[in-house]
Structure formats: C-alpha cells, structure tokens
C-alpha cells in the first residue's frame, strides 16, 4: 500500500518538460549545391516562378552530345564559332512537386522563326506560373502536350536563393564570358 503521494503536487511537471523542437534547435541549414538546367522531365509536375527577377533572356549554346548547356554573355555572342550556334532563350526558374529547383531554357524566336515545340514550351511555362503542369513531348503533334493538375495542390515553397545564385550554380563552369573560354577554343579549332 503506497503512502499518500501526489505526483502532480510533488513534482512541478510543467517545468520538467524538455523541449522537442528538434527542427528549430538544430542549427543546420540546407545548402543548395546543384541546380539542373533542363526542360522538365515528362513525369514531373512543375511550377514556374512568376517573378521578373527570377527569369532572364539570354544566349545559350546547347552541346547535344555532351548534354551541356552554355550561357553566353552578350559580349561573346559575336565571337567566331559562337555566333552560328548561339540561340536566344528565356531562362526561367521552376520547381517540381518534389521540391527540386531547376532552370528551364525556353528557346525564343531566332531569325523570325519559332517552331511549335518552342511555342508550346513557352505556353506551358506561362501556365505553370499559376498552376501545376506537366510537359510531355508528342511526336505526332510535333509539339509539347501540356497537362494541368486537376487536384487542389498547395502553392510551391520557393527557397530563399537569388536568381543570380541559381544561375551561378546551374552554369558552374559553363558561362562563356571570355574569348579563351574552352568552348570558343574548341569551336574555333584552337584546341
């Protein structure tokens, strides 16, 4: 038979409670180290950042074999070897439902030409500013099919990185900003 005790009177239980806020007290921060530069995968649903400061019209060179996309600064666009290959593109920021942050180079009109692929991609990106979309190539149509998510999905959570940080990470070593850049050297046969 226990003697008369009262745990709520004998202990100040509220003051004994230890914090469980593990996510707040941790002192770690996720580092964004890689930003893919590519068209969204056909299985992904994506949203495009609608902010003007999260997009930029640029010149790019796509090296299909190496699967690399180079960003060409305006001063380098008329360089020999580059001039023929550079295409204007709108670089937009997008995020997948899984939280992967990436850059999408959307081709723009060059020499007055804009094919249905580029046109439908631009249209998809515009829709993705407001809704979750999936972009899938349709060879028989000769353009991208755009699929809108019909479910009520939450708004994306954009990480706090500036666009220039994303560009720097996305084009690590792939920014053509000087005549001695390896890409120019290669295209002109200097190496």
């Amino acid at each position: 038979m226990p003697q008369k005790t009262d745990v709520t009177a004998d202990f100040n239980l509220d003051s004994l409670r230890l914090k469980q806020d593990f996510s707040e007290t941790l002192g770690i921060q996720r580092v964004l180290s890689h930003v893919p530069v590519r068209k969204p995968n056909k299985t992904n649903f994506i949203r495009v950042h609608s902010g003007e400061d999260y997009r930029m019209d640029v010149g790019i060179v796509e090296m299909k074999e190496e699967r690399e996309t180079f960003l060409v600064t305006p001063a380098m666009m008329s360089e020999p070897g580059i001039y023929e290959l550079v295409v204007p593109a709108r670089l937009v920021t997008y995020i997948t439902r899984q939280g992967v942050l990436a850059l999408w180079p959307l081709k723009l009109e060059k020499d007055g030409k804009l094919n249905p692929w580029h046109e439908s991609a631009l249209e998809a990106a515009q829709l993705a500013e407001e809704q979750w979309v999936s972009v899938r190539a349709d060879m028989s149509l000769g353009a991208y099919q755009i699929f809108l998510a019909t479910a009520e999905l939450p708004e994306p959570e954009w990480p706090e990185h500036t666009f220039s940080e994303l560009v720097r990470l996305g084009f690590k070593g792939l920014i053509v900003d000087a005549p001695d850049h390896p890409l120019i050297q290669q295209l002109t046969g200097a190496i």
Binding site: Q3, D6, T8, L16, Q20, R97
Partner: protein, 594 residues
C-alpha cells in the same frame, strides 16, 4: 529537488522467494544509510509492520530494480517510500542504445558495477547464493549459518548500491530538473510493483483443461484449419506446399534474400492484414510454434504475474516475456482473462497516441486538426483531397482504409513497397499516398527530418521527461524518426499509471499504450471515467496541454475479456476442446471518452 534536500539516503535490498506467478516471500532485508553509515540487517521474522528506517518525505530510498523491493514492501504490508531513486532505469537511461566491450548492454547490477569499473561479486558466487534463497522452503527452516550467509550476500548488493551512488548521481544530475525526472522514474517503479503485485485474473480451470490437452488441441487445430491451406504434414509446416498455396491464391508473398518466402512472424502479421485469408494460418502457426501454455505465469491465487520489465525497450516501453505474460502475442489466449465474481476489468488505451504525439510535438496544426476530428485517417483523406468534404467512414471506407495504412505505416518509416503491400495496390498508388502525406503535413515532415538530423548531429535524442537514446554504430533512421512517438508515449503511460495508483485505482498491467484496471462491478463505470480523465491529464502534461483521448473496453463477471482479433481462434480452440466457452459469451463493452 536536490540531493541535499534529503536528511537520510537509504540503500536497500531484499532477498525473496517468488515462484512462478506468486507474490514475493521475503527472506531478509538489508538497508544502509549513506550519511550515518547505519546498517540494518534483518531476517524475515525480525521485520515488523512498518519499514525499520525513514521512508518519509525527507528521506531518499535507493535500490536497483526497485519494483522488486517495493513488491517486498507490499508483501510485508509496508507503505512505499515517498521518494525512490532506482539505479536500474538510470543506468539504462545513461547507456541506452550503446553496448560496451566486455559488458554488452548495461542492465544488471553487476554490469553497472563493471561499467563504472567497480569491484563486483563473481557471477558464480552470486548464482550459488541466489539458488539458496530460491529454495522452496519456509524462512524458519534456514539454519543460522545460512541466514547469516544470505544476509551478508544481501549486504554486498547494498554496498554495491552505495559505491554506485556517487558515480551515478554525478552522471544523472547535471541540469536543474534532472533529479526530479529520475525520481519520477523511481515513482513509476512503485506503480510497476503495484501492477506486478496485483496481477491479472485468469480462468484457471479453463487454463488447466487447455494445458492438459494442448498436444491434442494442436493436432486438432491443424486438422481444422489446414484443409483450407494444405500446408502441414503432421505438425510440420511445409514450405513447398505453402508456395503452391500462394500461387493458387495469387498472393505476392515477400521473399528472403535467398528467394524463399519470408516466414517470420512480422511478415505473416503484415500479410494477414492485406490478405485476410492468411490470418487463420498466421494465428495457427503462432499458436503451434510459440505458444507454450505451461510457461504462462499464473499464481496459486489464479492471477497472471510476471516481471513487467519496465524500461526494457530502447523507447523505455515494457518488454515482458511473451510466453509468461497473458498479453503476449497470441491474442486468442487473452480470452483466459476473466474477472473474479463481483469484479470487472477495463482495458483503457490512448486513442491514436502516436498521431497525437507527432501532431503536437511537430506543431503541425493540420495534423492536430486531423487528430482532434476524432478520425485522423479520414481527415487526412479530406485534407489531402483524396476524399471530398463531408466524406464519412461509411461513404469512403476504402479510401479511409488506405489512408489509415499510410498514416500508421509512415509513422514507422514505412516506404512505398511495404505500403503497397499493406494497401494491396501498386507501388505507384503507395507513392502517391506518401507524397500526399508529405505534402499535407509538411511541418510534421520537416520536424521528423529534424529529429533525425538532431540525432545524427548530437548523437542523442530525448523525450519530454528526459528518457534518452544514444546513436551507436549503424543508425536506422526509421527507428530514430519513430523514437519521439514511442518514447513520449511511454512517458505518458508511466505518468498515467502513477496518477492512477495515487488515485486509488486498481491498476493491473501496462499493455503498450493501454492500462488494464480492475474494480468492483458497481464501481467500474466510475473508475473507467476516472482513469480516462487521468490519462487525458497525463497526455496534457507530456504534450503541453494537447488533449488526447482514450477508449475503454469493459468486461464484468461472468464474462471474459477478448481481443477482437483473437476471437476466431478462440472459438476454434474451444470447439476442438468440446468446451462450451464460445466468444459469444465474451462481452467487451467499448466506451469512448466523452
């Protein structure tokens, strides 16, 4: 509370004889006071009607595995000490999750001494003395020489306690509140003693019949159940025949690394949930393989008593012996639990305890709303857009079932393949459910990842009341993620048991997130309400005010207790025994908390 607040600090140990299922018969007691060095050594017949030392508010009682000592207190009709410091939970807490070279896991007094590098009695000497104590004989038949030897042996444990006092208290009392939290664990050991002392009433006549004919029953059960499967050859389970049956039923059974069907208990349990036709085979295999009725620990007063093994698991939950404890894994056997004439029992468990803990500790308001709705599974379905507003359990049962599987499975770190098996659907459907959960409860998932990060960064996790686990060697992130839910759930149950004991409620046993209580038929309804109020209060204390509900199953004499999932097997066993104790006579009344 500080150690300096105590005027006396008593180390105490008993030697006692406790045959299977019985209350302890005290042989002797030795106690020693830290400051005055006073020693009290008494044989059983010298022990009076109250403790021979101060057990009041200004004294600290120190023991190792105090539930045993406090069981002796009860046998002697003594009041429990006011303050208990038990070195067992403290050394478990200090070393939880770790193993040490030459010691392994630190759980006994000897390994605790070894852990601190202190001199200890040899195992062989200890065993010889234990054997002498455990002889089935009256205290008066021991010679004076034997009595002296046993008392001296008992004193070695008391001396060990004294030598451990400084190293242990130095390690456990580091921050304000540490000692209080240790004393709270000590007080729980008193509640454990209370439950072990009371035990669970068993229908011993029926148990005797079952024991006598168990071999026949096993064969007859196979004859009864196996025709639907055709997987037994005599008493032997044939894997090849089982594979044929699986093919026939088109059941995709999980395989081992060698490509054979996994036959472990966990796989059977999980598959039985997905494919109900597997359930009878699962229960049969378990009953044949693991159920040893003779091991069930029942005393001469017809009550199941066994070591409840508090703080046995890393989460600090109990780990009683599966074969000795009536609430072991064979659920049908629980039908042997039967209140005595004029008495009633109630099994009261926290409702969706893990979800409530996860919701509150992570501060995920959406998940809290889902819990508070009373049906967290359907709420998840609605919140995730998998069911429309206004959906009910009746209108959207399949969706709710899938969501329930996801909610429960994810709390254990289940991933898409296992969840697919559980919901009986393709992996893509399981992945979709997981993504829906991650999206709906983003705050929870961020916190859950924070739990793992914290554990990996600091090599340690702790509960609200200081139970901790160290990360050691290979860490399983799923166990780490689940730790706060399980270990804080254990804190809640401990607090509820202490409060119930102090309120005079007759507590019989802890069962994971439930407590079995006993009362007179006249008072059971009142006691259930009191117990539910206590459990709610315990929940609020652990979860900083968050209200957690409980459910109660009540059974009064002459009915017997029955776990729903064991009912079918119970009926089969009774049928083969030609016993007219069908589960129809088993009546459990479910009571939800208002």
């Amino acid at each position: 509370m500080e150690l300096g607040d105590f005027r006396e600090i008593w180390f105490c140990d008993f030697e006692f004889y406790a045959p299977t299922g019985e209350r302890p018969l005290v042989r002797c007691m030795v106690a020693r006071e830290l400051l005055s060095k006073r020693v009290i050594k008494l044989w059983a017949d010298e022990l009076g009607s109250e403790p021979p030392f101060n057990t009041g508010k200004d004294a600290l009682f120190v023991a190792f595995f105090a539930s045993a000592e406090l069981g002796c207190f009860r046998s002697l009709g003594w009041n429990s000490p006011y303050w208990v410091l038990d070195f067992y939970p403290e050394i478990r807490n200090l070393t939880n999750g770790k193993t040490y070279p030459g010691i392994g896991r630190v759980r006994s007094l000897l390994s605790t001494l070894a852990f601190f590098g202190l001199r200890r009695m040899q195992h062989e000497d200890k065993r010889a003395m234990r054997d002498l104590v455990m002889e089935d004989r009256c205290n008066s038949t021991y010679s004076l020489q034997d009595r002296r030897a046993i008392l001296d042996y008992c004193q070695t444990d008391v001396d060990a306690l004294e030598s451990l006092f400084k190293p242990i208290t130095q390690r456990i009392v580091r921050c304000p509140g540490d000692l209080d939290r240790a004393l709270l664990r000590g007080r729980y050991m008193d509640a454990v003693a209370e439950m072990e002392f009371r035990g669970i009433p068993i229908d011993v006549d029926l148990l005797k019949q079952l024991r006598q004919s168990w071999d026949d029953i096993r064969l007859q059960l196979i004859e009864k159940i196996d025709p639907a499967f055709g997987v037994f050859d005599g008493l032997k389970f044939k894997q090849a025949k089982f594979i044929d049956w699986l093919r026939c039923e088109k059941i995709p059974w999980p395989e081992t690394a060698t490509g054979k069907p996994a036959l472990d208990n966990a796989t059977f349990r999980q598959m039985a949930k997905v494919y109900p036709q597997v359930a009878p085979l699962h229960e049969l295999r378990h009953s044949l393989g693991q159920l040893r009725l003779n091991d069930l620990s029942v005393g001469s007063d017809g009550r199941n008593r066994c070591l409840l093994s508090p703080f046995g698991a890393n989460t600090s939950r109990h780990t009683p012996s599966n074969s000795r404890f009536i609430f072991g894994p064979s659920r049908w056997i629980r039908g042997l639990i039967k209140p005595e004439p004029g008495k009633a029992l109630a099994y009261i468990d926290f409702s969706s305890q893990e979800i409530a803990i996860a919701a509150k500790l992570s501060s995920d308001l959406k998940m809290q709303r889902a819990y508070t709705s009373g049906d967290p599974y359907l709420s998840f379905a609605i919140q995730a857009g998998l069911a429309p507003d206004g959906a009910t359990k009746a209108t959207h049962k399949p969706t709710r079932d899938r969501c329930k599987s996801a909610v429960l499975g994810l709390s254990y770190g289940m991933r898409e393949h296992s969840l697919a098996q559980r919901i009986g659907g393709p992996t893509i459907a399981a992945r979709h459910l997981i993504e829906a959960h991650e999206e709906t409860y983003r705050i929870f998932w961020r916190w859950s990842q924070g739990v793992v990060d914290h554990a990996m960064l600091h090599n340690r996790l702790h509960t609200t009341f200081g139970w901790q686990i160290a990360m050691n060697g290979e860490v399983n992130p799923r166990s780490v993620q689940n730790f706060p839910m399980q270990a804080n759930g254990a804190e809640m149950l401990r607090l509820a048991a202490i409060m119930a004991m102090e309120a005079g409620i007759q507590i019989c046993a802890p069962i994971h997130d439930a407590i079995l209580i006993e009362s007179s038929i006249d008072c059971i309804d009142i006691d259930v309400k009191r117990m539910q109020a206590i459990m709610q209060q315990a929940g609020q204390i652990v979860l900083d005010g968050f209200a957690i509900r409980s459910d109660a199953d009540k059974v009064s004499y002459p009915d017997r207790y029955m776990d729903g999932s064991g009912r079918e097997m119970w009926d089969r066993v009774m049928e083969v025994c030609n016993l007219n104790v069908k589960s129809a006579r088993v009546r459990c009344v479910a009571i939800a908390q208002e």
